[in-house]
Subunit: 344 residues, 2 copies
């Protein structure tokens, strides 16, 4: 049994009977080496269980082949967040495919700490996920580090960001529900400061107006929610339950699935039949929604495309490719499931 000491290039070279330079060339795959020499080095690497030291390599090449991903969220479910989890999964897979490893960090206080950490780790690039404060991106910009934003909001025209086309998606939801015959809409809208929530709502109401439904009238009731989670879906539906029933709203639209699920659970628990009495529609297409009974109709967000392209674009940035798009939008489409179908 070879001992557990980690061997370096020097021991490797020694055992193979070559110089460190030569050993380095065959291990790294850069530069020439005769077949016989190559064979000997590889053989030695095997018996020594040699693992090149990526830290040392990074120091000289000034490339770590590491990416940093920071998810900005105040509340605990971070990786396990149904939408961000999907995006991160995709980032992981796409990174692996391009030879990058990823440091995953979460940042609760929208601080600069995690950014600093990754800067010190000399990651090759940074993916900033979710809404983040302007100061974070102002900070990142001061350094010479490729970065991009996923699912955040910014007016900064310099910043590359990937978002789903929430306004169009909101419009499609309105279109679909209207097409199903609905004329009275109850809407629970997540935090207006959050780009996606505000655009989804804007798209939804604009489309209703175009369809001849005044969103100022009693045909549309919009309830704002300070948070976009399950608990608030329940809470707000509970608070407005009486109005909801009395006014005869036949369709419920929320700016994300979690709110929809919460509201739907409250309705189901009170015996309201979905979709027979009320049609419910969310946004995001989280896995949970497809598993619900009734399964939740929704508007999809292309988490797979976003995650994949984030890595691809960042890789291009790192490699110095220019003329990259500053804004990449992903199309949303309506996903019809049990919570809205069956309405005749």
């Amino acid at each position: 049994m070879t001992n557990k000491t980690n061997h370096g290039l020097r021991e490797l070279a020694q055992l193979a009977g070559v110089s460190k330079s030569t050993a380095s060339r065959v291990i790294s795959g850069n530069g020439y080496a005769s077949p016989e020499v190559k064979e000997r080095v590889l053989q030695a690497a095997e018996t020594l269980r040699y693992k090149p030291n990526a830290v040392a390599r990074a120091m000289v090449t000034k490339r770590t082949n590491n990416l940093g991903v920071i998810v900005f969220r105040e509340q605990p479910p971070i990786v396990s967040h149904p939408l961000y989890g999907k995006i991160i999964d995709e980032i992981l897979v796409a990174s692996e495919a391009r030879g990058y490893s990823v440091f995953l960090k979460t940042d609760r206080e929208m601080s600069l700490r995690s950014t600093d950490f990754l800067l010190e780790q000399r990651v090759d690039g940074l993916i900033l996920v979710s809404r983040l404060q302007k100061n974070v991106i102002d900070y990142v910009k001061k350094f010479n580090l490729p970065y991009l934003m996923v699912n955040g909001s910014t007016d900064d025209p310099e910043v590359i960001h990937l978002v789903s086309n929430d306004e169009t998606g909101g419009g499609r939801a309105a279109d679909y529900l209207h097409g199903q015959g609905h004329r009275k809409f109850f809407v629970i809208a997540g935090p207006i400061e959050h780009r996606s929530h505000s655009l989804r709502l804007a798209g939804f109401t604009r489309r209703l107006e175009q369809l001849g439904i005044s969103t100022q009238s009693s045909a549309v009731k919009i309830v704002p929610s300070p948070e976009s989670n399950f608990a608030y879906g329940i809470k707000l539906m509970e608070e407005h339950y009486q109005v909801f029933i009395d006014q005869g709203y036949s369709a419920l639209f929320t700016t994300n699935d979690m709110l929809a699920l919460g509201a739907m659970k409250l309705l189901l628990d009170r015996g309201v039949r979905i979709p027979q009495e009320v049609a419910v529609m969310g946004y995001d297409d989280i896995e949970l929604g497809s598993m619900y009974s009734p399964s939740l109709s929704t508007v999809s967000v292309d988490a797979t495309g976003i995650g994949r392209d984030a890595v691809e674009l960042l890789d291009k940035l790192i490699r110095g490719v220019t003329d990259l798009p500053k804004l990449v939008e992903y199309n949303s489409h309506v996903v019809i499931r049990q919570s809205t179908e069956g309405k005749e």
Copy 2:
């Protein structure tokens, strides 16, 4: 505006008018420096926006302060897996608190690639999550690297592993359901090769036997499932639906929540009333279950404790603490929700 070039210790020292050694001492916090000197260096660091190079530091200290986490799963939902996601979230938080950053890797083919990668990155320690093949741990053991296993299975007495006490939990589920008056049990059991599924089932049936219910008789029907996901919950329930109804099983127990949710959805879609006609109980306590309508009764797994302790134990291992426990078990408790309550 300071330019974007990244400055090194040399420039820092130069600007502060001290030697690199001194600059290093104040930046790293190791060693002495007079208040005035310290002040000057810090000042210079500020104006230069100096970020210590963690790569260089790691090379000399032989400590990266990085941890590697590998999640072994063949199927896509990895980070976004409802249970593993929770554990990973906790690992992230606990790592941060102890000054570690984490490389998150997934491994679909149970290969040695991700392990090698992390070995090359010279992480200080490794957390192996989920079921992994014996060859992976045999491989890791050959290197001089602290590691531990979470939620996996091993007979190797040397390996530190953290698991939930699945057998006891299975027994508690049986106890609870029996106490609710149920005498006919339908069980969907996940892959028997997976430690947690087989122990949950074993605990459940053993306890039933103790309660005087023969698990060989028609009182208990056990259906094995090759996968432990939602789709199989639906599929198996569908296949056995007629038997299920005809035989009058009043309780359904599955070895995880996903299976329970799938089976429950099928029952609900067919109009079976839960819990009035059938009580349903899962295992894991994933967030989804608490949101369902009816919310799912289950047996909890202490994901928070597991994630937190994994980092704590690994940190101790890294710091050379000895006499660590080889096996840490976490208690499970029954979580009663709508899918079983209401039965009188």
